[in-house]
Each structure stands twice: as structure tokens, then as C-alpha cells.
Symmetry: D2
Subunit: 139 residues, 4 copies
């Protein structure tokens, strides 16, 4: 981590009170730590928007393994992108439902395209993508 | 899956054109499949808001393993919730940075509280929670 | 960890020299630590043989996702045992080959039976089971 | 898969009867499939012995997260080999015990060396390595 720099900011009283309640609820030790998290999140969102930056992504999928050939189709599709998919963690939620969490690494817009394609497969009940930093930009 | 029911909807022309471009970009075969995904996502968000429903969550964390005792602290904290955490997948992004993706199962607000606590740990660079359905509500 | 007890043992000189070379190659700090590992491994093997003890298992499978309906079949089979399978981690080795590593928890002989069934599926190229302790017996 | 070639073999009656009982217990459909698995396993063992071949490995570790700084030490060590470790899946077995299952890719003897080093860390209760093929040699 690089050295901490201290500086003052001005925030409306009511807004600050609401923020203090929120960060207390979230268990933050102090405002600085909470605001550093907001800043890092804003930077990650910026990187994701730019698209050409190398990022890490997690895709969360829920589906029923009973949908005919859906496991086959999802596995085939993922192999088309095997260079971008680090691994896929599968949890058998019950006798019918599957959770699959993929970890990807690559350009933000290419991860986004893979997520769109997998989430759009017929039979996938729910899917979400999270894009985050490889850690290099967030010293 | 339960039986499909067909019905008509009315949408402004401009809005529909924009939606058609979006779902084509995402690779959907047709509007029905894309709208079913929107409806399922709205239901999942509703369940997450209610808080008392059993859901599945994935927490994505990025941190540096060089922050002193951070791996220890994150591991200890996770053991406090070992009944809710199914597994945690760790990818060594480079010589310094770690990606950790946890899969959780439990009441939505308890998953949210665990996510807040882990993301708020000093040294965690970025963290995001995704809440999704166990699949039972999304036939 | 419980308190360390010190005691002497007698070993033939040639055997000890060979053991010292082996443990040096493996990076052990001293003979005690290496012998403790041998003892713990012997206890784990004993538990595995008994069969009725709760253990943890990892099943490593290699297969080609191009074998028709193999992903479907493996996923269906695993759902029959969803209460014993904690999670399954999938790595797309290349455009054709899959690695799947399952983590299981249950009675040793039931984990063994699941491993036999999965490894025996036609199209699975290679499979291996490791049984280990839940940690409780190895203080 | 390449084309099947049929050929005859001779086996002592008693041995064959025992083998038939074993493969029935394991759920094999027929002797050919069971013998193909034995052949593939022999080839994998040969590759592992040669050492210089690219293989896949899974390392299963059990330890207590309460051993001071053990999580930190294991995480640091793994980062030294971050190019060989695809991912590490962590299961919180109970309030004290951890299961960690690493997936590695690299030369067989380098995977073996990493396994030796991790299993030899003081505080690791039990550890096992499985080496398998990347699938390319097992058509």
C-alpha cells in the first residue's frame, strides 16, 4: 500500500449522519476506511466502462440440470472461452437446481460478452456479472 | 419448467427498437426469453429486499496477501460463519494480489451482513455481493 | 494442538539416512515433523478403511466435454448425491478437455461408492479419490 | 475418441472372477470399460514418473485456521507458485478446521515439489497429491 495522505472534506450534516449510520451498520472502523472503499469502487467501475482494461469477473448462474442438454450446452460454450475462464465452481443446490460461479480474466468487454452469452442461454434462470480489478490499480 | 402462457404487451416504438438492439447484442433468440430474464431478475431483487428468504450469495473480494495477517483475519472471520459459507475459491492473481470468491447460502439479510463485514475489513481492496435465488422460486 | 510429548525411537542407520535424504528433499524442518505427518497419514488411512466414519473426500475427474451428453450425465449423477457433494470445481483444460474436482463430505464408504460410480462413467478418462480427515481426529 | 480395436486376452479363472466382482461393485457396464480405465491409469502413472511432462495436479490439505499465521504462510507460499496454481478451493469444515483443495498445472515434478512444500508446512494436519493427465494423452 502507498502512504496515506490526510485531507479535509465538507459534507452536509444530514448526509453525514446518514452515512455514519450506514458505515456503522457495515462495521467500518472509521469514515476514512469507508470512503477509501467508495473511491476504489468508483475506479473499478470506470475501468469496467472503458472495456479494454484487463479485469477479473465472476459470473453467477442458476439453472436446473434437468433442462435437457443444458449442462452440455453451458460446458461447450464455456470451452469456446477456455482461455478467459480460470475455473467454474458448481454447487448442487438441491436435487434439481445448480449454482455455477465462473471466475474469468480478460478485457472487460470480452468478459461482459461471455456473461451476456451464458446468461442468455435458454434455461438459465438467473445470472449476474461482477467485474473487479486484478488488484494492480488499487494500491 | 411450468407451461408457457402467451399474452400481448404494448411498448413504445422507440423503446422497443432500443430493447431489440440490446437483446440482439446480448445474443437472445427472441423477446420472450429476454423479458422472462427481466421478470426473474425482478423477482430475485424482491426476495433479496425482503431479507428473510433463503437465498444464495457470491462475495467477490480482491486483496493483497502481503497485508500483514490479512489472510489469517479473513479466514478467522469466515469460520465464524462456516455454516453459511459453502466454499471459497481463491485465485492467486499475481505475486501480490488475491481474488477470493465465496459461495454462501442462508437468509438474504444474514448473507448481506457477512458480505458487509468481509468487504469492510481493512486491506480488502474491492468487494461485491451478488444475491440470487436457490432456484426454487424460478420455475 | 495438544502438548508435544518427547520420546526416543530406534531405527537402522541405513534406513535413517535414506529417510533423512527424503525429508530434506521434501523441505521438512526436522524428523519429528516428518514422522508426525506419517502418523497422521496412517490414522487417516485407518479411518478410510473403517468406512463408517465421517470424512472428507476429493474426486479428480478428467473427461472430454465433446463426449455426447457426458456433462449432462455427470451433472445428473452428482445431483443424486447433492447432500454429500459440497462443491465441484471445473477447469476448462483446453478446447476439448475438462478437469472436475469434487469436494465431498460423508461416511467414507459412501464417498467411495460415489467416486466409483463417477469414475466408472463411460467417457471419463481418468479419476482418482483422496479421502482425508475432517480435522477433528488430528489434533 | 479414436476407434475401438477388439482383441482377446487370457486371464486365470479365479483372478477373472475376483475382477468381475470388483467391477460389478464399482458399477462398470462391462470388462472392456474397466480394463480401459486400468490402462489409462497406468499411462497417467508413467507420465507422473517421467516428471517432465505437463500434467494437472490436485493437492488436498487439512489444517486448523487457529494455528497462528498458518493461513498467511500458506497463502504467501502459494503466491510463489501463482503461475502453476489455477485456483484453490477452501471449505470451512467447522469452527476450527479448513480443507483446501488446490488445482495446479505444470511439469509433474514441479507440481510434486509444490505439494511437498505445502504438505510439509508445520500445522498442516494432512495432505495428499493426485497427479492426472491434461487429457491430451488419453484419447
Amino acid at each position: 500500500m502507498s502512504e496515506l495522505v490526510r485531507f479535509g472534506i465538507a459534507v452536509e450534516g444530514g448526509l453525514l449522519a446518514a452515512f455514519d449510520r450506514q458505515i456503522q451498520g457495515k462495521g467500518y472502523a472509521n469514515r476514512s476506511e469507508a470512503i477509501r472503499d467508495l473511491i476504489r469502487d468508483a475506479l473499478v467501475q470506470e475501468l469496467a466502462r472503458k472495456g479494454r482494461h484487463e479485469m477479473v469477473g465472476t459470473i453467477t448462474l442458476v439453472y436446473s440440470h434437468e433442462t435437457r442438454e443444458l449442462s452440455d450446452r453451458l460446458n461447450h460454450l464455456q470451452h469456446d472461452y477456455h482461455n478467459s475462464i480460470v475455473c467454474a465452481n458448481h454447487v448442487h443446490l438441491d436435487a434439481h437446481n445448480c449454482l455455477e460461479v465462473l471466475i474469468l480474466r480478460g478485457k472487460a468487454d470480452s468478459i461482459q460478452a461471455i456473461a451476456d452469452r451464458l446468461i442468455g442461454v435458454k434455461g438459465v434462470k438467473h445470472g449476474k456479472l461482477v467485474l473487479t480489478s486484478t488488484g494492480k490499480e488499487l494500491t
